[in-house]
C-alpha cells in the first residue's frame, strides 16, 4: 500500500531529491506500521523522528491504512 509522507525540519536532507512542496509517496507492505516508513526512508534514529497522523503523535507500532497522510517531524522545544 502507499502512504503520502511529508518531511519537516532537516529530515528532507536524508531523502535525495525531496521537495517539501510535493512530499513523497512511500510504498510499504499492506498492514504496514509507522516504523516501516522510517525504515524505507532511512530516517536516522539520532533525530528522534516524531510521526504525526491526524493531529496526533503515533508510536512506531501504529498500523497505517492505504493512502494515509503522514508527517515526519523533529522534536524541538519552544521559546
Amino acid at each position: 500500500m502507499k502512504v503520502r509522507v511529508k518531511l519537516y525540519g532537516t529530515l528532507g536532507k536524508h531523502v535525495p531529491g525531496y521537495e517539501i512542496s510535493n512530499g513523497i509517496e512511500v510504498e510499504i507492505p499492506d498492514g504496514g506500521k509507522v516504523k516501516d516508513i522510517l525504515s524505507v526512508l532511512h530516517m536516522p534514529e539520532s533525530q528522534g523522528v516524531v510521526v504525526v497522523i491526524g493531529g496526533s503523535i503515533m508510536t512506531p507500532d501504529y498500523t497505517l491504512h492505504d493512502g494515509a497522510s503522514v508527517s515526519l517531524l523533529q522534536p524541538l522545544s519552544g521559546g
Binding site: 519537516y8 525540519g9 504525526v52 493531529g55 517531524l73 523533529q74 522534536p75 522545544s77 519552544g78
Partner: protein
C-alpha cells in the same frame, strides 16, 4: 559587581557595590528579587515609585557561549504584576564585561523630558538630553546612535509606543549587526522606560572589568564541554541553525494546536506557506541569511535576515511567535507581510505577540476580515500615528476586547497568549494560567515534552507537574543569561553537568543539581509574593472562559484542568 542607580527625578547617577542580599543573583533572579524588595506593589507602574531594572545574566560577560540574554524587570503596566522580559542582542555581554550587575532606573523625569544613558568602555555613566529624538522610531534612532558613538556599542531603546506609554510597548535591543530587532517585548516595559523619560541606553563594547571568575581553569574546561553539548544536540546543533524557532510552525499545526483566527481553530489554512521550512527556502533563494548570528557569543545561530524579492533587508530574527501572532491569529499566510509587520513592530517598539492578538480580536469582532494583510499593516501603523485605534491596539488584547466589544480575549493577566492553544496542549494552558508574568511562551513551555512523547498533550495527567517543573527550571536558567535555544542541550546529562560546573567555577561554589531548582523556586516565590501584595488572587490564575466552553478544531476539545489543579501548580510549593 556594581549597580548603576539612575535617578530620573534629578538626573543623578550613583555607582554602588552590590549589597549582600543580591550577591550571586543575575538576570530574572535579580530583577524579580529586587522588585519584590524595593518596588511598592500597589504603586503606579508608570509613576516614580516603579523601578526599571536592566540586569545581565549571572554568566553574561564571561567567555561562556550563548550567555547574552538581558533581563529587564519592573512592575508591569500591562498586567499590574511583576514582570521580567528578556531579550538577546549584545548589551548583556557589554554590561557583563564592565562588571555591571544591573542598571536601576528610578524616579520619573518631568513630562516631555527625554534622556539617553551612556556607559563607556571604562564604566563611566552619563545622562544627556535627547529632545531631538522625540518620537523617533528605533531603526533610525539606533543608526544615529551607532554613528554618533561608534559601531562598537550596544543599544537598548524605545520607539514611539514606549514614549506614549502604551501597555504593549517593548524595549528593543540591538543585534550584532546593529539592528534593534531583538525585543524585551512582553509586559509593556517600554512604557515604563518611556514614563521614566529614558529613550535609550548605549553601552560600549570591550570592557575589561568583568567580575573575576573564581576558578578560571575549571571554567574553561566546563565551557568547552558546554560548547560540545550545544553543537551535538539535535535542536541547538541542527534544527535551530537550519530553521530557527520557526521550525515549530509545522509541528504545532500538525498537532492542531496553532491558535488561528483569534483562537477559533487549531490549524491555519495555508500554514505551509509560512513554515520554517518555507521561510528558510525563501530567504536562501533571495540571498538573505537563514542561519544568522544575532547575539554576542552565539554558536546556535537561530536568527535570520529576511530580505524581499529584490534582496533588500526587511527584518531580522523573524521568529515563531511573531509568525503565529501576525500570521496565525490574523489569518495572514504570507511571509512577506508577516516580515513587514515584524519590522514595523520593532521599529515602532511594540510587542509582536500582544499586538497580533489585539488585532485578531478586532478582526474577530468584524472590524476587518481575517487574512487581510494590508489591514493588519495599517492597524500597526495606527499605533505610530497615535490615533484612537492605534492607542487601543497598542494597549493590548484586553483594551482591544473592550473597545470592539469582543469577550473572546485570549489573554491571562491581560497579557496575550502565545502560539500553543491550551485546548490542544493542556500543559501550556497550565503555564499560561499560573505563570506570575501572565500568559508566557518561555516560562514553562511543554511543546518539547509532547514532541518527544513524554506526555500526551490532550490528556490532563502529568500536565500540572510538568508545567511546575519547567517553570522552576526556566526561572533558574533565566537568571544566568543562558539562551533557551542552547539551554535545551544543557538541561541534563553531560551538558547539564558542564553548565552547572561553569556556574560553580564562576562563583567558587559547589551547587548541586537540586540547588538549581531551589534558585528557581526562590525566583518564583519573589514573583508570587509581589503579585499577592499587588492584589492578585487565585482568580487571576485562570484562562478566559471560552477556552473551557468552545471546543477547538480539529481535536474539538476544551481546556480540561480544574481550578484546584491550577492552584496546586505553584501553590504546592508553599508559595
Amino acid at each position: 559587581m556594581k549597580f548603576i542607580r539612575v535617578n530620573m527625578n534629578n538626573k543623578s547617577i550613583r555607582i554602588e557595590d552590590v549589597p549582600q542580599q543580591y550577591l550571586g543573583l543575575g538576570g530574572r533572579g535579580l530583577t524579580s528579587v529586587m522588585i519584590n524588595l524595593e518596588v511598592p506593589p500597589t504603586c503606579d507602574p508608570l509613576g516614580p515609585e516603579n523601578k526599571l531594572i536592566i540586569a545581565p545574566g549571572s554568566l553574561s560577560g564571561t567567555p561562556l557561549v550563548n550567555t547574552s540574554r538581558i533581563s529587564i524587570g519592573a512592575k508591569s503596566p500591562l498586567t499590574g504584576g511583576i514582570k521580567e522580559s528578556n531579550a538577546g542582542g549584545t548589551v548583556s555581554d557589554a554590561l557583563g564585561r564592565l562588571g555591571v550587575t544591573a542598571i536601576i532606573v528610578e524616579g520619573k523625569a518631568p513630562e516631555g523630558d527625554l534622556s539617553l544613558l551612556r556607559i563607556d568602555v571604562n564604566g563611566n555613566a552619563t545622562l544627556s538630553s535627547v529632545a531631538d529624538f522625540k518620537g523617533m522610531r528605533t531603526y533610525t534612532l539606533t543608526e544615529k546612535l551607532l554613528k554618533q558613538y561608534g559601531e562598537k556599542n550596544a543599544v537598548l531603546c524605545i520607539g514611539p509606543a514606549g514614549e506614549k506609554q502604551l501597555s504593549s510597548a517593548s524595549i528593543q535591543s540591538s543585534d550584532v549587526d546593529g539592528h534593534p530587532c531583538r525585543a524585551a517585548g512582553r509586559g509593556g516595559l517600554g512604557a515604563v522606560m518611556g514614563a521614566k523619560g529614558l529613550k535609550a541606553v548605549v553601552v560600549e563594547h570591550g570592557g575589561k572589568t568583568a567580575d573575576p571568575i573564581a576558578d578560571p581553569e575549571a571554567f574553561k574546561e566546563a565551557a568547552k564541554a558546554v560548547v560540545k553539548a550545544v553543537r551535538e544536540h539535535p535542536m541547538s546543533g541542527q534544527m535551530m541553525p537550519a530553521l530557527g524557532t520557526a521550525g515549530l510552525v509545522a509541528p504545532v499545526n500538525s498537532m492542531g494546536a496553532f491558535p488561528s483566527y483569534n483562537a477559533r481553530k487549531g490549524v491555519l489554512e495555508g500554514w505551509e506557506k509560512i513554515s520554517g521550512e518555507a521561510m528558510a527556502e525563501m530567504i536562501t533563494k533571495r540571498g538573505g541569511n537563514p542561519s544568522h548570528m544575532g547575539c554576542s557569543q552565539c554558536i546556535v545561530h537561530c536568527s535570520n535576515v529576511f530580505v524581499d524579492a529584490a534582496g533588500k533587508y526587511v527584518t531580522s530574527s523573524l521568529e515563531y511567535e511573531t509568525i503565529w501572532s501576525m500570521g496565525g491569529m490574523t489569518g495572514v499566510a504570507d511571509l512577506d507581510i508577516i516580515a513587514r509587520l515584524d519590522f514595523l513592530c520593532d521599529d515602532i517598539g511594540v510587542d509582536t505577540m500582544n499586538t497580533g492578538v489585539a488585532i485578531a480580536i478586532a478582526m474577530d469582532a468584524g472590524y476587518r476580515n481575517f487574512g487581510d494583510g494590508q489591514a493588519v499593516i495599517e492597524m500597526v501603523e495606527e499605533i505610530a500615528k497615535d490615533t484612537e485605534l492605534g492607542r487601543i491596539i497598542g494597549s493590548g488584547p484586553t483594551a482591544a476586547g473592550k473597545y470592539f466589544k469582543n469577550a473572546r480575549i485570549p489573554a491571562v493577566k491581560n497579557q496575550g497568549v502565545a502560539a500553543y492553544d491550551p485546548r490542544a496542549m493542556l500543559g501550556n494552558g497550565v503555564t499560561f494560567a499560573t505563570c506570575p508574568m501572565g500568559a508566557d511562551h518561555t516560562a514553562g513551555n511543554l511543546v518539547g515534552e509532547y514532541l518527544v512523547g513524554a506526555l500526551d498533550p490532550l490528556n490532563p495527567e502529568g500536565q500540572v507537574e510538568t508545567s511546575r517543573n519547567l517553570q522552576i527550571g526556566v526561572a533558574a536558567v533565566d537568571s544566568t543569561g543562558m539562551c533557551f535555544m542552547a539551554a535545551a542541550a544543557l538541561a541534563d546529562g553531560e551538558g547539564g553537568a558542564a553548565f552547572l560546573k561553569t556556574i560553580n567555577a564562576k562563583f567558587g561554589i559547589q551547587l548541586q543539581p537540586a540547588d538549581v531548582g531551589a534558585l528557581g523556586i526562590r525566583v518564583l516565590t519573589a514573583e508570587r509574593e509581589f503579585n499577592k501584595k499587588a492584589g492578585f488572587t487565585e482568580k487571576d490564575d485562570r484562562l478566559p472562559r471560552f477556552y473551557y466552553e468552545e471546543p477547538l478544531p480539529p481535536h474539538n476539545k476544551v481546556f480540561a484542568i480544574s481550578d484546584q489543579e491550577l492552584d496546586s501548580t505553584l501553590g504546592v510549593l508553599g508559595i
